[in-house]
């Protein structure tokens, strides 16, 4: 695994931030915004932001090299890999180019760049990859669906190894869009809290290297057991409040993994901190697990809602923390919401071997659940 987050470059920075329950949000300053900027976000460190239109390639290279190294591989070893990248769109790059051209006095072209698939195409060409290359773009579930797609490719034998990428760089376009929807929280995100008031956006890049092997090489290596994706057509920006489809996707992932709900030790919830989505997610978890609901937690108080990258980065965060022996608590949560009657982890929990569920929900009614196993059985 490799990662670049608001904690800095590297999985170690992420793991230390999680362990210390450290906030890493700041006021967005990459581009001017067309409204009064009062919202904190989780940005890449300033040294990386100075890369401007090379930012995406820079964070991709950092995360990729770390992932390759931590897997005990080198760039030659990955040539036959599939590359599946998940992102919501990478408009940051277009904004950087637009801003530069404007300063130079040119007449800049709005979104004067190629389509969303360009980053994966560049990356594959640079690495000389021979396996399949594609970009999944399903808003906030993009890289979770990239994991799902990679799992199916590996099961089918289309590739022996898959490089899964989740990457997002916050753009003024995206921030403005969430602002127009009144979904941002000036106070920062407070997942599952009684006083939650919206989301806190973030930038991140994560690379996961998945291999099809008979047995994991070490007890700390995560095993992807199953995954599922379903679309809820209730509303384009929110899941049905009864949580039926979200529950269905959790149940489908459990079936795909060949386990039962009782096998799940902890759920890494999507937990955006928005009023309706958190309530919906709790309703869905209760529908699947009933009275035997496992502990659940959310990571967006640490690194923000990283949109298309959250599937990969939050999977990396969970696996990294589990390897360090703990399950991160829900940063931002302080007081229980009586209407939900469910309390997320408020303190770190000791990791135990077993199965973990990761949930990701997004615009377009897109819902994805992943099941991983940690520590062997």
């Amino acid at each position: 695994m490799g990662a670049v987050t608001s904690y800095g470059a590297g999985m170690d920075a992420l793991r230390r931030g999680l362990a210390a329950r450290r906030q890493s949000a700041s006021v967005y300053d990459a581009f001017p915004l067309p409204y009064s900027n009062e919202f904190k976000v989780n940005q890449y460190p300033q040294a990386l932001l100075s890369e401007k239109d090379a930012l995406i390639d820079t964070v991709l290279a950092l995360a990729l090299d770390e992932a390759i190294g931590s897997a005990g591989l080198d760039r030659n070893d990955i040539r036959d890999s599939a590359l599946i990248l998940g992102t919501s769109g990478l408009l940051y790059e277009a904004e950087a180019i637009y801003a530069r051209e404007k300063v130079l006095g040119d007449a800049p072209v709005p979104v004067g760049i190629r389509g969303t698939g360009r980053a994966a195409s560049r990356m594959a060409k640079g690495l000389g990859l021979r396996g399949p290359v594609l970009t999944v773009t399903t808003a906030c579930t993009s890289s979770a669906n990239a994991v799902l797609a990679a799992m199916r490719m590996l099961r089918r034998g289309d590739a022996k190894r898959a490089i899964v990428v989740g990457v997002e760089a916050l753009s003024a376009f995206t921030l403005n869009g969430f602002y127009s929807l009144m979904l941002l929280s000036p106070a920062g995100t407070r997942p599952f809290d009684a006083a939650r008031g919206g989301i806190q956006l973030g930038s991140a890049c994560a690379v996961l290297i998945l291999e099809s092997v008979d047995a994991p090489p070490s007890p700390s290596t995560g095993v992807l057991l199953g995954a599922a994706n379903l679309c809820d057509t209730h509303n384009v920006i929110s899941t049905g409040l009864d949580g039926k489809v979200a529950a269905s996707v959790m149940a489908a992932a459990i079936r795909d993994a060949g386990i039962t709900p009782a096998d799940i030790k902890t759920i890494k919830a999507h937990g955006t901190g928005s009023i309706d989505n958190d309530a919906t997610e709790v309703a869905a978890m209760k529908a699947v697990f009933g009275r035997a609901m496992p502990s659940f937690t959310g990571f967006k108080g640490y690194i923000g809602h990283t949109l298309g990258a959250c599937g990969a980065i939050e999977t990396a965060a969970l696996l990294g923390a589990l390897a360090d022996g703990f399950i991160p608590s829900t940063l931002g949560f302080e007081s229980a919401d009586p209407a939900m009657a469910a309390v997320p982890l408020a303190e770190h929990l000791q990791a135990v071997p077993g199965c973990y569920m990761l949930n990701f929900f997004g615009f377009g009614g897109n819902n994805t659940s992943l099941i991983i196993r940690h520590g062997g059985l």
Partner: protein, 325 residues
């Protein structure tokens, strides 16, 4: 196990949905008004959806309506686009980047979200299934098709729905920069949809395969490229039926001729003259194979290179009229 094509719809830049409406382009097309056909198919206006979403909903609705049997709501949907809702996105982008815009429309932002169109396709079709949007520039549709076929062949689903759609935008120079295409090429829009199934009953064709080669056309060695592509499609050629080569968006005439020779003189079927050039033109071309009945089984080989050293190949067998496997 084979993946069968149960229905197909190509939607072209004139709003053409079958052979009777196809017209060769002599210049850039104007965007067709799709409101009548949308109303006819869905019984409603989609007031907040843009032209791009209208194209996708019309194509997908027709593909489902042309099926001989009901479409299962749990069937996965794979949607491909190179540039997505480019008109709304670029307009909002300019508004944001020029500052002082004040409050922008939330609907414009929602329409710019990458999977909003696939949501509308699913909602209109009553699907609550897997819903994945793929964007891989000029290889977007081929990538989505690979998943739609694999889901059926691997037993994840009995049926799947796959489509590819792109729209044109103005100013022209900006649009051509995004694709990127040369100034003298015709831009286009539209797309195509296929319902894929496991049961051969009622099928109009079959997908022979989707192959991705890490081999581009930019290094100048045409023979080596043609040889590799011909080798990849060799298993499909064994039945001895007529073969057509369908050059994709970026395949040069020289590459098409070299490959045609390797394929024992396969005839070239040009469809880009009907739809213009856009990232998911392959979806139009492949779906338009089924505009007409075939007297004999016919093999179509669609070959599309990108600018980053890759080539994707799709083999489609169109069944002779009334044939049942």
């Amino acid at each position: 196990m084979r993946a069968y094509i149960m229905s197909a719809v190509a939607i072209g830049p004139h709003g053409d949905i079958d052979a009777s409406g196809r017209r060769a382009l002599g210049r850039d097309p104007l965007q067709a008004d799709l409101s009548d056909i949308l109303m006819e198919l869905t019984g409603k206006e989609m007031r907040r959806a843009g032209h791009f979403t209208e194209l996708a909903v019309i194509g997908s609705q027709l593909a489902i309506k042309r099926l001989c049997a009901p479409f299962e709501p749990s069937s996965p949907l794979y949607f491909a686009t190179g540039l997505g809702e480019v008109q709304a996105t670029t307009a909002l982008f300019e508004q944001v980047m020029e500052g002082g815009a004040g409050s922008t429309s939330p609907y414009a932002f929602i329409n710019s979200v990458s999977n909003t169109t696939a949501f509308h396709v699913a909602k209109t079709a009553g699907l609550t299934s897997t819903n994945i949007t793929v964007s891989q520039e000029e290889l977007s549709f081929e990538s989505a098709l690979r998943f739609a076929v694999s889901d059926v062949m691997d037993g994840y689903a009995e049926q799947s729905l796959v489509g590819g759609v792109d729209e044109l935008s103005h100013p022209r120079s900006a649009h051509m920069k995004r694709l990127p295409l040369a100034e003298d090429e015709l831009m286009g829009e539209g797309g195509g949809w296929l319902c894929i199934g496991r049961d051969p009953a009622g099928a109009c064709g079959a997908v022979e395969g989707v192959v991705e080669l890490a081999l581009g056309i930019d290094d100048g060695d045409i023979d080596a490229w043609a040889s590799a592509v011909a080798q990849a499609v060799m298993p499909w050629l064994e039945t001895g039926c007529p073969v057509y080569l369908m050059p994709g968006l970026r395949l040069s005439g020289a590459h098409a001729r070299a490959l045609s020779m390797r394929l024992h003189g396969a005839k070239v079927r040009d469809y880009l003259g009907l739809c213009g050039r856009f990232h998911t033109a392959a979806a139009f071309g492949i779906a338009a194979i089924f505009d007409s009945m075939h007297e004999t089984d016919t093999l179509y080989i669609h070959v599309s290179p990108n600018t980053e050293g890759r080539t994707m190949i799709v083999g489609i067998r169109a069944f002779a009229r009334f044939r049942r496997d």
